[in-house]
Amino acid sequence: MKPFALLTPDALAATATPVQAQNSWVKALESIEVFGIPVGVFAIPAIPLVFIALYALYVGVYGERKISAFIQDRIGPNETGKWGLLQTIADILKLIQKEDIVPAAADKPLFVLGPLIIFVGAFAAYAVLPFSSEFIGADLNVGVFYAVSIVSVEAVGILMCGWGSNNKWSLFGAVRSVAQVVSYEIPASIAILVGVMMAGSLSMQKIVMSQSGELGILHYAVFQSPVAWIAMIIYFIAALAECNRAPFDIPEAESELVSGYFTEYGGMKFAMIFLAEYASMFMTSVILSVLFLGGWNSPLPNIGGLALNDWTSGPVWGAFWIILKGFFFVIVMMWVRWTFPRFRVDQLMYLCWKVLTPIALLVFVFAAFWELYVR
C-alpha cells in the first residue's frame, strides 16, 4: 500500500468544498448600494481594519502584557477595571492625548509618512487573507504572491522613519531593519513556495480548499509531505524576523539602539507603528496556517457516525478556526519573545544566508520530487 494512500489528490478532490459556494458573504456585501454609493465595497476593507484594531487592543496590548506577566512571574495590569481589562483603553487614551511632536531637525514629510506606509503595508496584506470560506477581501489568483510583495513595502516605511528622524540611532535601526527584512524574505518565500507547490495554486482560497477533507487535521499540508514541517518552521522563523519580533528585534533593540527606527515617535504615530507590528504578526500567522495548517478547515476528523468534521465546518466555524490558529501563532511569538535574548546583527545575517536559505532550498527541491513522484 502506498504511504498516505488515503490522502491522494483524488481523495481530496472528492471531499473539497464546491467552488461556486465560495466567497458568498463578500459577494453579498459588494451588491449593497445606498443611493448608488457602493457602501458594501467600503465595508469589506473595514472589517479587517476593525478586526486589527480589536485584536491589537486585546491580544496585542492586554494579551501581551498578561502573557509576559505570566512568564515573568508577575501579575500584570490589574488595577484598571476588572482584571485590568481597561488597560488597553487607558493606553490608547494616553497615546491620543500626546502632543504630536515632529523633531525640529527631522525631514517632516518622511517623518510623517513613514508610519503610515508601514501600517498600509501590513494592512494591505489583509486583502487576501481568507477569514472564512465565504469571506476574503479579494480572492486574487496570485494571493500569496501579492501578500509577500506588499509586505515588503514596510521596509520603505521603516527606512523613511529612520532617515526622517534625523537621529543616528534611528538610522542604524532603519538600516539594520531593511537589511533584515529584505534578507528574510528569501527563506520565507521559498518556504511559502513549498506550500504553494503542494496546493498547486497561488490563490489563498484554493490553497485552503486543497487541504479540506473529512479526516480533518490529516489533510493539512504539513502532514502531506515529510519535509513540509521544516518549511513551516523556516517560515515561522523568517516571519519572526520580518515582524521584527524578538529574538530578531535588532532594529528596535531596546538596550542597544534605544528604540531603533521609532525612537523619535510618540503619540498616534507610535501607535501606528505598534499597530502595524501586531497586524503583521497576525498576518504572517494566518499565512502560515493557510499554507501548512489548513486555514479555515476544521482539524477534527469524522470518526464513523461521529461527524465531528462536518459539525465543525462552515463559514462561521471557518472564521473561528482561522482566527484560533492565527492567535495560536501570535501567542507562540510572544512566548518566544519573552524567553530568548537577542541575536547580534551579523549572527542574524549568518542564520538567514547560511542556515535558513540553503535548508529552505533543499526542502524545496525535495518537496518538488515528492510532489512529482510520490503523492
Binding site: 509576559s68 512568564i71 515573568q72 512571574d73 508577575r74 543616528k168 540611532w169 542604524f172 524578538a246 529574538p247 528585534d249 535588532i250 533593540a253 531596546e254 538596550s255 542597544e256 539602539l257 534605544v258 519573552w338 524567553t339 530568548f340 535574548p341 537577542r342 541575536f343 547580534r344 546583527v345 551579523d346 549572527q347 549568518y350 542564520l351
Partner: protein
C-alpha cells in the same frame, strides 16, 4: 582595523567572533561619531561613551564620566568619621554593605579597635547577602543588555527577599548605614538567622533555574562568548579587580589573598573560569564568575550561620567609640566588593574628629578604564555586551 584578518572557514555560528570583520584596505569609508549616553539604556546610569564607528564596527570608544560626581572625598573631609559611612553607601549603591565594611575597617585600623567576634559574623553575613544581591543585579541587567527580559524579573523577584531581610535588620532597603565603627547599628532580630537560612535553602534552586534560563541559553552564549577578551596581563596592568580580573583567569580575591574579618575561618573557593564554556577573559567568563560566586556566597552565609556565637545579652554597640579622635597617622584598608577591590586611604591629623583626607579607590572606576581597549573593533551590540560584563555602577565611578 583597516587590514584583512586571517580567514579560516567557520562551521558554527559561535566560531565567528565579532572582530573578524574584513575591512577592505583600499576602500575609504566615512567614520561616524556616535554618542552612547548619558541617557542610553545600556550604560547603566549616566555614562557617556563616545563611539567612532565605521558602519557598525566601533573604531574607538572613549568613556566620559563625571555626570554623577558628588564630591565624596571633599565631603568626607568636612564630616565626622561616623558621618562618612552614609556617604560610602551612596558610592556603590548596589553593594552598600561591602563599601561600609571597607571604610569601617580603615577607621578601626586607625583607632586600633578590636571588634567583637559576633559582630564580625554579622558583618560577613550581611556583606555576603549584599554580594548576592549585587551580583543578581549585575546578571539581571546583563541579560537585559543582551535582550533577555524575563531573567531580569525572575532575578528581581528573588532579590526582593534579600532586600526584605536587610530592611528588617536596619530599616533601609539599599543604603543601610548598618556597619558602624566598632560594631553594627542593630543586633539581629529574633529568628533573623532562621530566615537567612531559609533564604539560602530557597535560593539555591533558583540560581540553577536562572542559569538554565539565561547562562545556558545558546543565544546568550553566542552573544557573549569570545566578545571583549581581556588577557590576564592587560587586566593586571590596568589594575582591574573582582570578577573582571578573575574572569581573565587570575585567582585573586582579597577575601583569600589579603584576608580580613573572619574570612580566613571560612571555606570557599575563588571562582575562575575553566575555559570549557567560555574563552578565558571574555564577557561570558566574567558573567560566569558572577554566577558561581553566588553559590560561594551562599556557602559562606551557611557557614556563618552555623558558626556564629550565640549571646542573648549581646550589645552590638559595646565597642562603638562615642567620639572618634584618632591619633595622627594614615591607613589603607581594602575589601573585596562584588565589583572588585574597594579601598579607603584615610589620613588623620590627630587634631580633630574629621578625616584630613579620605581617598576612595573605586573598583568600577578602574575596571571601566579598560573599556576602550575591549571595545575596539567590535560591533555596537558588542560594546553593550562588554559594558554590561564590566558591570559598572556610576555612583562608584564618579563618586
Amino acid at each position: 582595523m583597516a587590514e584583512t584578518l586571517d580567514y579560516t572557514p567557520k562551521t558554527r555560528l559561535s566560531q565567528v567572533s565579532s572582530n573578524e570583520y574584513i575591512v577592505e584596505k583600499d576602500l575609504e569609508t566615512e567614520y561616524m561619531t556616535l554618542n552612547m549616553g548619558p541617557q542610553h539604556p545600556a550604560t547603566h546610569g549616566v555614562l557617556r561613551v563616545e563611539l567612532v564607528t565605521d558602519g557598525e564596527v566601533v573604531m574607538k570608544a572613549t568613556p566620559y564620566m563625571g555626570y554623577l560626581h558628588r564630591c565624596f572625598e571633599k565631603h568626607a573631609e568636612a564630616l565626622d568619621y561616623q558621618q562618612v559611612i552614609p556617604y560610602t553607601d551612596r558610592m556603590d549603591y548596589l553593594s552598600a554593605m561591602n563599601t561600609e565594611h571597607a571604610y569601617v575597617m580603615a577607621v578601626e585600623k586607625l583607632l586600633n579597635i578590636e571588634v567583637p567576634r559576633r559582630v564580625e559574623f554579622m558583618r560577613v553575613i550581611v556583606a555576603e547577602l549584599q554580594r548576592i544581591a549585587s551580583h543578581q543585579v549585575a546578571i539581571a541587567t546583563y541579560g537585559l543588555d543582551i535582550g533577555a527580559f524575563t531573567p531580569f524579573l525572575h532575578i528581581m523577584r528573588d532579590r526582593e527577599h534579600i532586600l526584605t531581610l536587610l530592611e528588617w535588620l536596619c530599616g533601609a532597603r539599599m543604603l543601610y548605614n548598618y556597619i558602624w565603627v566598632g560594631g553594627v547599628s542593630h543586633n539581629f532580630p529574633p529568628k533573623f538567622k532562621q530566615r537567612v537560612a531559609e533564604f539560602v535553602k530557597y535560593y539555591k534552586p533558583k540560581v540553577d533555574e536562572m542559569m538554565a534560563l539565561l547562562t545556558e541559553n545558546e543565544l546568550f552564549i553566542e552573544r557573549t562568548r569570545g566578545i571583549g577578551i581581556l588577557p590576564a596581563d592587560v587586566a593586571i596592568n590596568y589594575g582591574c579587580s573582582g570578577p573582571m580580573l578573575r574572569g581573565s583567569g587570575v585567582k585573586w580575591d582579597l577575601r583569600k589573598n589579603d584576608p580580613y574579618s573572619i574570612y580566613p575561618e571560612l571555606e570557599f573557593n575563588v571562582v575562575v573560569p575553566d575555559g570549557k564554556l567560555s574563552i578565558i577573559g571574555d564577557s561570558l567568563s566574567r558573567h560566569l564568575v558572577r554566577c558561581y560566586e553566588i553559590y560561594e556566597s551562599l556557602k559562606i552565609i551557611q557557614q556563618c550561620i552555623d558558626k556564629m556565637p550565640e549571646d542573648p545579652n549581646f550589645d552590638p554597640h559595646a565597642a562603638v567609640p562615642k567620639r572618634i579622635k584618632p591619633p595622627a597617622g594614615e591607613v589603607y584598608a581594602r575589601g573585596e566588593n562584588p565589583r572588585g577591590e574597594v579601598g579607603f586611604y584615610v589620613i588623620a591629623d590627630g587634631k580633630g574628629t574629621k578625616p584630613f583626607r579620605c581617598k576612595a579607590r573605586a573598583a568600577c572606576f578602574v575596571n571601566l578604564s579598560v573599556l576602550p581597549e575591549l571595545a575596539k573593533g567590535n560591533l555596537i551590540s558588542d560594546v553593550v555586551a562588554i559594558l554590561g560584563s564590566i558591570d559598572i555602577v556610576l555612583g562608584e565611578v564618579d563618586r
